[in-house]
Symmetry: D2
Subunit: 275 residues, 4 copies
């Protein structure tokens, strides 16, 4: 494998919101080459994927047959990568197909069960093919979570505030819950009480996750997606905050994965494993 | 009344935490003159109040007889002021005594019932004597609350986050509740839902006060006393935040009250009335 | 004039970034009626303005002749309003034309000289026609500036931090300079030094505006448009912050102006005058 | 060495601001034992160090002869530790004396030249005695700096805001400069410009440190000591913030050093080396 040839990239789910961002991000780079775009939405079939993504014509039509495109990705000097932002019900088959063709999957689609994930891991292992399954492509959020885990060795007190636009129905956010679980998984009980607490209005103190970590969810129009982890100790506060303003923020993570997956021989889960 | 003579000031509760701050603040000014210090704690009786407050000797001993000191405050050219930071069970009598002597009370002691407050208002009215009863001397907090009320005319969405050290037992803070009530008192229902909300962890969305305002209470060592009012609308967020680092922050409000009370002829409740 | 008929609205500069937002905002309301769309960019001529704005067909073609559209705005029961987001070189004529037709201008276009503004004010006065010239339609920012002016009566120390994306070339932002000038205009010298200051790295202490107010400009990708005014006093900090995430945040101000201009008989400059 | 015997601790500079905090922190622990207190200020000679520190009598008088106290620290089962918060002109001798007695130094005193530091390192090496020289005992700040270094691998854009009370004369703060230098030392040029920048008011864009990192220094009464490192990338912002409210925040770091220094055989510089 020579590093001089660009990596052939196939985007599955190319007409979706994330797919379009990937098309825009990949098409502007010299070390990657977009070789095909797949989307099962009939509305976009045959359209130029660059036009759909809003970055000008790329002369690559959107098709609905993944296999024919995987073939294209195997005809270059270097092994290809399939980026998948599709649907929970199809992602398992997509990943098996890609691995069968020797194309390495970078999977952003959520909804794979533990069993299917395990099965795909075995399949990738046997084929010695790299595969990345990534629930959150935000490098900034992973850095925040790693820094929080590091800080938790020295701070016994921590709370989380997450703030999102008021179109977000569920509270707390999945990412805030995951952050709390990462901290709790370290086998520590946080926030030992120093007074008898009295919550005069139910809910004021927030929701409890894991081993005594409070999460506070703020929902307002005008907010986008924000998370704050606040550590406190005698005389000091240490705050980690991540603010997302649009989906483009995930592209640095996607591109990193495309470059890294070609160096792997098995399935890896989570962006934190390759940072 | 001439503005050139300094205002005679009596401090009642002079050995308490707030009383000491008042001693320090008043003793350094040229437009005020400390004439007496009262405290019913026998431990400090006879000690120099400046030494107790930590600002060097003032040659004013702490005594326990308020009346004798009120007499002193009436022997100057201009009318005197009594600052009272004592106890709920004595404050009513203290204020009546001061008014009876023609000394104007500035009261920071909490716990006066509505009936007693009404009674004192009538007493001050009859005597044409100014009297200020102030639950919160923080000018910054009053400015925040006024700005929040102003903003609530244009924003329909608002949440409050208050953050305090973990020695504070009750949540939410009284000041946060008051802020929410001030906004609710304007006859508006805040935060109309735009989706069906789902709180998967109880308390995550905070405590409800007034007409649909959420308060979130964070408790960590290292925090002091902080309040944030966050307004949201399509495409924008407007945030008002107040941070307190020590009791000295109340002194600007206390001094303002000492100067203003001499211009009043009746009882006024709340710092916002004189800003 | 009856309040039940919707206000006829003409948008001049309808295909521009702000114009499109106005089209979207006005077309969804029952108390306003879009009657015409003007844009001098030939690319959009004849196209449905709703399609161009991205809110679906409205059956109103974009034309380039303002006068013919102003006529339309005068044929309804209530007086019409022209919203102008065009170019500095044409705005003066646009406003004169609108007033001549009895259509009330709401002007977001910048670049009117003081002389032309004065001339338009006289013209509106003679015609007894309301006219609003608004350099910044953000209600949140005006509220922030008003709250800052209010706070400046009680705080002697203040600094401003403004944060924008790194595509913004100039520093400080015009809005931050205006905020500093509003505070300075109150005839006060801020930030009296309490120590001999030593700036070991030039620029660290920020840029000086007005009477000793420091502005700090942060430029980073990922930021959008943010301003923070921080007041400090002994033991307390009072912070006002405004965050803008997209142009839609100006629409509440534009709509308020459309409703208010019909109640005016002269030219008014600045959103703060009608809040 | 058994872990069950408490570590004998000598505090040099015991009557200073930091020394008093150390006395308070050490005297309340069961795994440490205060054996002596030294201060060259004659005002405190002979006084009970607990009374001076404000934590009640400890029956340990403050003396001015370090050597006699170092002897005491060698008479316990486990090796002793000397905490030194004294003066630049005496610290070198203090550390040599301690090492000569087999007492391990934890040095918070600043001002050691590179040559003297090198000399002490050789001395400690020969004696196989642990010695910690720590310019900043704040664990939170070290965590922030480490997290910033980690983030700098993935973010190309960063600015620093540091905020301190207006009694601090120099700007920027030494800690902010050090943070910028740590990031710059990684051999990267930060903040490549994407537009031609125009600073209309000198200083607005901040002071430049290292390889193109901007530092902004805010000075206001009411602030204490705060630092913010803000990373930006397309669509996201990652912020690390540290707030200090009083000197007690350094004690966790001091205690950690007392425990760690007994496991070392040489001189180590900087808290980050032992976290």
């Amino acid at each position: 494998m020579t590093t001089e040839s660009p990596i052939p990239v196939v985007v599955n789910g190319a007409a979706g919101k994330m797919g379009r961002e990937v098309i825009k991000a990949v098409s502007g780079l010299s070390d990657m080459m977009l070789v095909g775009a797949v989307d099962r939405n009939p509305q976009y079939r045959g359209q130029d994927v660059g036009e759909v993504a809003g970055c000008g014509p790329l002369e690559i039509p959107i098709v609905d047959d993944l296999q024919s495109i995987l073939v294209l990705a195997t005809q270059e000097k270097v092994q290809g990568v399939m980026v998948d932002f599709t649907h929970p019900d199809g992602v398992y088959e997509n990943v098996r197909s890609a691995i069968a063709y020797g194309v390495r999957p970078v999977v952003g689609t959520t909804g794979l069960t533990t069993e299917k994930l395990q099965d795909l891991a075995e399949f990738a292992e046997k084929a010695s093919t790299g595969c990345l399954v990534i629930p959150n492509f935000s490098i900034g959020m992973v850095l925040l979570q790693q820094a929080a885990v590091q800080a938790s060795q020295y701070f016994d007190h921590v709370e989380i505030i997450e703030l999102h636009h008021n179109q977000k129905a569920d509270a707390p956010s999945g990412t805030a819950i995951k952050t709390a679980q990462m901290l709790s998984g370290l086998g520590k009980t946080y926030n030992p009480a120093s007074v008898v607490e009295k919550e005069t209005i139910p809910g004021a103190k927030g929701g409890l996750v894991g081993d005594n970590i409070r999460i506070h969810s703020v929902r307002l129009p005008g907010l986008i997606a924000h998370q704050e982890v606040i550590f406190g100790a005698q005389g000091e506060i240490y705050t980690l905050r991540h603010d997302t303003s649009d989906r483009s923020c995930y592209m640095a993570g996607v591109l990193l994965c495309i470059r890294k997956v070609t160096q792997l021989q098995s399935l890896v889960y989570g962006l934190e494993k390759i940072l």
